[in-house]
Every structure is written in C-alpha cells, then in structure tokens.
C-alpha cells in the first residue's frame, strides 16, 4: 500500500460564533475564539492520497496537477481570507478546524481520480490539529 502526503500552508482569519446565538452564549461555548473582531492562524493542511502508480510515470498523482488543484481549491480560496465573510460555506457553518478540514475534504475529494483522497489533517496551531477521513460525522 502506497500513500502520498502533500502539505500546503495558508493563513486565514475566523470568528467562532453562531449568528443566531447571543454574544454571551457564543462566549460561553467558544471562549476567546468568539471575539467578534476575529483572529487568525497559519494553517497547514496535509492531504493524504492512495491509488495505483501510473506504470509509465511511476507516480500516484502528477505533482503539477496536484499543486494546481491545491492552489485552485484550497490555498486560493482560503489564504488571506476572513473565512466567515469571504468563504460562502462559512456563512452557514462555524469555521472550526473540524469544519475547515471537512470543507477541504469536500472540495478535493472529487478531483483526484484515479487516486483517492483518504485523509485531511488540518494543523491549526502546534498543539491543535484535526484529522478527517470522510466518514459520517454529523451530530
């Protein structure tokens, strides 16, 4: 079994708060992450792929194609953004590390055939990271 893990970085701001909750409630649930002015992180995403090696090239994914896809779908839309305001999905869901990892999964999973996306690891701080494997995770 062979897997390829590609890492990419982006920086983004977010606020952890639900608009329909009061400031006090948001503060209780999300603590200082609910500060309405927002705060930012340098995120690192590690994308893990499985699949057959192309017998001609010896590659699982063409690196130029993969990097273009990451630029187009991950770094481009997220880097330098205020996630709650600039990325439509985070107007509806709170941009926690969990939801950002799931969003990255959703945006990449269909684009890498014949390889398969098998994991997204999103590192938010050196002490805090999230792993998502595409499994059912709704409450």
């Amino acid at each position: 079994m062979i897997r390829l893990v590609r890492r990419c970085d982006f920086s983004a701001a977010h606020v952890l708060a639900r608009p329909e909750w009061s400031d006090e409630h948001n503060r209780r649930v999300y603590g200082k992450c609910a500060n309405p002015a927002g705060h930012g992180h340098n995120y690192t995403a590690e994308l893990c792929f499985e699949g057959p090696l192309d017998p001609r090239t010896g590659r699982l994914l063409d690196p130029a194609r993969l990097d273009a896809l990451l630029r187009e779908r991950v770094v481009g839309p997220l880097d330098g953004r205020f996630l709650n305001r600039d990325v439509p999905v985070f107007g509806r869901t709170v941009p926690t590390a969990e939801n950002i990892a799931r969003h990255i999964w959703d945006t990449l999973a269909g684009g890498v055939s014949p390889a398969r996306l098998v994991g997204v690891r999103l590192i938010e701080t050196r002490n805090n990271s999230v792993e998502y494997d595409g499994g059912e995770d709704s409450a």
């Binding site: 062979i2 897997r3 590609r6 890492r7 010896g58 590659r59 699982l60």
Partner: protein, 110 residues
Amino acid sequence: MDFSASYRGADGVTHGHNYELEVTVSGKVDPATGMVVDLKDLKELMEREIEARFDHRSLSDDTPYFRDRAPTPETFAELIFQLLDKALPDHSLYRIRLSPTRDLTVEVTR
C-alpha cells in the same frame, strides 16, 4: 535518517534532494530487553541497506534500480520498503515514510 541523492528527471536535467526517511518496525517487546528492536542494530541496518547504497549517489546513474523507470518519490519509497523488508526479520517492517521535501511525503505499508 537523512541522506542526499540526485537523479535525472524526465527533462534530462539532474537535480537532488535531502531525503528524510522514517522507518517503523513492529513486533513483540522482548521481555528481557524491553525493546521491540535494538535501535543500534536498526541504525546499522539502515546505514548498510540505504545510506551506503544511495547517499551522495545519482539514483539514475550509480544504482541499478532505475534503468527502466523514473526514480519518483513513489518508486523510490517502494524500493526502500522492499530493501528493508528483505533485510529485517520476517514481517517486522511496518511502515516507511520518505520525504524528499518538507511538503511531500510518501508512505509505504505492507
């Protein structure tokens, strides 16, 4: 372990990397030593099987493994897994991770 090697790419241009290699072995903990594997033995085996073969070499020109295929991170990682698997006791090799750059890692398991 770290080692450095070069190769000729599809465009015929030679370039190189500082490769980082992570080897994981699994097995029962020896009740006498409290160890799965003697790290000194593992280090010597990695030096013999990997470093001696590839460090400061051209994968394309100085080794016999890439005459008819390109030394991509994927094929190189597969080769390293096979070489270590052959040299280690039966099925004790669990995983290798090979990183040609900070942003790319290839992982091979059985």
